[in-house]
């Protein structure tokens, strides 16, 4: 896929390199090629990636038909339509690769029918995609098959038990520079589980919250008073639950696992009483109490296909509903979607594991969730919950260049991911890997079916006016 032909690409890069354009002020400026060559030995070259030839769905509502995206050193620096004409650039001469002071890759997706670019998906949680455990900087398996399959499924970031990590896969050629282990883990722990099952656990959680709230009031009073009396001692945190304190200070999310409406409305009430936004996993009967959850600013992580009949003893509405995600969303609850199985299922039943994240979203849309909220449920919302919303989840200037190129609507059941890019590196190409290359291969693939040649179909070039309808034989003789 590395080519260096498109003229405007030169222009794009030149723009990024140009000091005269403030939009790219952040880019290091290499005015002098000789100087750049000198530096080459010491510092790694800048890496540029250009994506073109497809519709860019930025993930925040904008769609750029046949748009272009430029990334530098793994970050997005420009998205648009322009050829970025830069005065003074020599368009008539291709700069040979060895004369360039930078690395350049061009991902031309025009070979993908109905090609679309989306932000890489964010799995709120998954299992086995990174091939390790604990500190992923030490344990990530960059040759892991499941990581490849995760990237093939369009997932570029995943939440793990206590951190958020990228799917950094080893691809020959991309790692002429050092493998970026430090770039694997991009977020720490953002969610702290609050037990909310038994009467005792609920009482205990509320008491801890009350204690933390009381401490915060005392602390704020001290902040005022200490200005008058510098000797005044800071109030003691002894006996105050540090997790709940972090929750009320907005440093961490309180995560509840709850499905029944009574439990859910209880969570909404403590959240409103103490003023924090609860994250609720499960949330099966959320639709029944969606207005309360919406008022409390709750965020839900759910599986739309969850099924449970309502409790027979319950007079009110209850049980699972395919409309759950849609109703929650319409009441202002941010919804993240996760399939029933968090791992890669090799058992042969397709459509319900982490590889089929968009299929799961499809069921929420069946229940009435709008398409954009569906995309958000596997991009921006989980990114926000994992504390990495400033880096991943949408395609915007300044964010990480984690993207996928699909052969159609991401949420359609037939759509496959054709390319996956993480931190500006192409780490998955459907036609280069074993697993799915044979399924509807791209035209440029070796696996693409040969177009049968039928001489009768070839239009006959008329040689002259006289030849007329009988020219067929004459053509044969000429050949």
């Amino acid at each position: 896929m590395i080519r260096f032909q498109a003229r405007f690409v030169l222009a794009l890069v030149a723009l990024a390199l140009s000091p005269s354009l403030p939009a790219f002020g952040a880019a290091p400026l290499i005015d002098d090629e000789e100087a750049a060559a000198e530096e080459e030995e010491k510092e790694p070259k800048d890496r540029y990636l250009v994506v073109l030839g497809a519709d860019i769905h930025t993930g925040n509502g904008e769609v750029l038909r046949d748009g272009r995206l430029l990334a530098k050193n793994g970050k997005i620096v420009a998205i648009g339509y322009d050829d970025f004409e830069v005065p003074g650039l020599d368009y008539d001469r291709e700069v040979p690769a060895d004369e360039r002071g930078y690395e350049l890759e061009i991902l031309d997706a025009s070979n993908v029918p109905n090609g679309r670019v989306y932000p890489g998906m964010v799995a709120f949680s998954s299992s086995g995609l990174l091939g390790g455990g604990g500190d992923y900087r030490d344990s990530i398996d960059m040759f892991n098959r499941n990581m490849l399959l995760g990237l093939a499924a369009g997932i570029t970031t995943t939440g793990q038990t206590s951190s958020t990590a990228k799917l950094k896969r080893y691809v020959p050629g991309n790692f002429s520079r050092d493998y970026d282990f430090d770039g694997v883990v991009i977020g720490g722990k953002t969610l702290s589980t609050v037990s909310w099952g038994t009467a005792a656990s609920k009482r205990s959680a509320r008491e801890k919250l009350a204690g933390a709230a009381a401490y915060l009031r005392t602390y704020r009073q001290w902040q005022v008073d200490v200005k008058k009396d510098k000797e005044l001692k800071e109030p003691s945190k002894s006996g105050v639950d540090s997790t709940m304190l972090a929750v009320l200070r907005g440093e961490i999310f309180a995560r509840f696992s709850a499905d029944y409406q009574d439990d859910l409305s209880g969570i909404a009430r403590v959240a409103m009483e103490f003023g924090f936004r609860p994250v609720i996993t499960g949330c099966r009967e959320g639709w029944v109490v969606a207005d309360e959850l919406g008022r409390a600013g709750a965020m839900a992580v759910l599986t739309p296909r969850t099924r449970r009949s309502k409790d027979e003893q319950l007079v009110a509405e209850g049980g699972s509903s395919i409309e759950n995600a849609a109703i929650l969303h319409s009441h202002g609850v941010q919804v993240a979607i996760i399939p029933g199985s968090r791992g890669i299922d090799l058992g042969g039943i397709a459509g319900r594991d982490i590889m089929h994240l968009p299929i799961e979203v499809g069921f929420a849309i069946r229940g009435g969730l709008p398409d954009d909220a569906g995309l958000a449920s596997v991009t921006t919302v989980p990114a926000r919950l994992l504390g990495v919303g400033h880096r991943v989840g949408t395609l915007e200037v300044g964010k990480d260049c984690d993207l996928i190129v699909t052969d159609g609507d991401l949420l359609h059941y037939q759509t496959f991911v054709q390319y996956t890019v993480v931190d500006g590196d192409l780490v998955y190409d459907k036609q280069d890997e074993l697993y799915f290359a044979h399924i509807r291969p791209r035209d440029d693939s070796l696996l693409a079916p040969l177009v049968p040649f039928d001489p009768a179909e070839v239009p006959i070039e008329e040689e002259g006016d006289d030849e007329g309808e009988d020219s067929e034989e004459g053509d044969d003789e000429d050949e």
């Binding site: 639709w287 397709a350 499809g362 849309i365 399924i439």
Partner: protein, 423 residues
């Protein structure tokens, strides 16, 4: 047994109360698209009108060409699509008593005794557009017993019954090994053969007797099903998977004994046998494990993740359908099974995936005179859907079963209807 007993009573009542020849009022549906699922070249009609009355479809065509009876109730469905109710030939959710593995072969056991009509799981299936299922015993023994073809709609057993016996359930492969210690494939195939031989001989003795040759045989409930099979009034539905096992299914059931049999639960790598199956007239009903991941001990496939339907289609097999094995895959996910077939390579031109859950299984089970397409004279099992039925995003909004409106969940909650959609 086509008209349910309750309707028969109602008809009697009508005959008493009203002048003779009373007919139900006709109903007509106008839809943006009708997936007819008829013969090739007759798959869809855009701008469709469909008339049904007395539980049967009377006419279907474009809006202009269909003659609407006077006084017909009209339903303008706007941009919705209509399609025939879907058919699942591998389902275990119509009742209890799944696996009475008394003997290694139990051809006399009847799933019909265990039916709980329109139970919650059938209802959920119906809400997804699945209106006919083959309820079969489990695969704990080599012959689990006789299945029953049922409608999922409301009513009692007689209302739901489409055909009994719906099939003889035979199971090969790994599950029936659990019947006893030391059970392996050779022994299982031996037992299947022995039972088939006994059964076929029994059926032929009866045939001879009915022709006036020989004495009246002693009735044997264990083997009665073989009279139905020998007369081609029912089929063998085979739980089979993997190349070798499917090969045994094809060669024994169809090749050796000549019964009408179909691959049911056709999981994993059976597709290289496509030509053999086609030669024997054996259809491929695939699921729930439609995708084969690369693993050792299979034929070399260069790491490909292969869809079963992709393989059968590639080899030119003409009859490919999908099943769920509900509750292994929930009943309501039958259309998703077809979608996954497409995802993993099955060419969906002319809505082949929809045919695979409607007319193909109906033909295979020999009930296509009543079920499987929106054709004149067939049961009015009609599903209203918001778009491509295989797409999980498409919602089923209305279902008629034999002309009776069994579900209507159109519109916004609160405004036009009470409660939420379960599915």
């Amino acid at each position: 047994m086509r008209r349910p007993a309750r309707s028969a009573l109602a008809l009697l009542f009508c005959a008493w109360a009203l002048p003779a020849s009373a007919q139900e009022t006709a109903q007509v549906l106008y839809a943006q698209k009708a997936l007819i699922c008829g013969a090739e070249g007759d798959e869809t009609i855009n701008g469709a009108a469909l008339v049904f009355r007395d539980g049967r479809i009377e006419a279907v065509g474009t809006r202009g060409e269909v003659e609407v009876p006077e006084g017909a109730v009209e339903h303008d469905l706007g941009d919705r699509w209509i399609m025939p109710g879907m058919v699942d030939l591998h389902s275990h959710i119509a009742g209890s008593g799944l696996n009475d593995t008394v003997f290694q072969c139990n051809p006399g056991l009847r799933a019909s005794a265990n039916v709980i009509p329109h139970n919650d799981r059938m209802k959920l299936g119906m809400l997804a557009g699945v209106t006919t299922i083959l309820f079969i015993p489990g695969s704990g023994s080599n012959m689990g017993g006789q299945g029953v073809l049922l409608k999922t709609g409301p009513g009692g057993y007689e209302d739901a019954l489409v055909r009994f016996p719906g099939s003889l359930k035979i199971a090969q492969g790994d599950n029936p090994k659990r019947w006893g210690y030391g059970m392996q494939r050779t022994l299982m195939n031996h037992h299947i053969r022995v039972t088939l031989r006994k059964g076929q001989a029994y059926a032929r003795r009866w045939e001879a007797y009915e022709r006036g040759e020989g004495e009246r045989p002693e009735r044997h409930l264990h083997l009665d099903i073989f009279r139905e099979l020998e007369a081609k009034r029912t089929q063998i539905s085979t739980h089979t998977q993997y190349y070798q096992v499917v090969l045994a299914s094809l060669n024994i059931l169809s090749g050796e004994f000549g019964f009408d049999a179909y691959i049911d639960h056709g999981s994993f790598d059976s597709w290289p046998l496509s030509k053999r199956a086609e030669e024997l007239g054996v259809a491929a009903i695939l699921g729930p494990r439609e995708v084969l991941w690369p693993r050792v001990n299979t034929y070399p496939k260069d790491g490909r993740v292969e869809g079963s339907a992709w393989g059968f289609q590639k080899e030119g097999h003409p009859r490919i359908g999908f099943n769920t094995d509900a509750p292994v895959v929930p009943q309501e996910e039958l259309p998703l099974q077809s979608a996954m077939g497409v995802r993993y390579g099955f060419d969906n031109t002319h809505f082949a995936a929809v045919r695979g859950v409607t007319i193909v299984p109906a033909e295979v089970a020999g009930i296509d005179h009543r079920i499987g397409s929106l054709s004149e004279g067939k049961d009015a099992d009609i599903v209203v859907v918001t778009g491509d039925p295989s797409d999980p995003r498409s919602a089923v909004e209305m279902v008629w079963v034999e002309g009776e409106l069994a579900a209507d969940v159109r519109g916004e909650r609160g405004a036009d209807r009470e409660g939420v959609r379960q599915w």
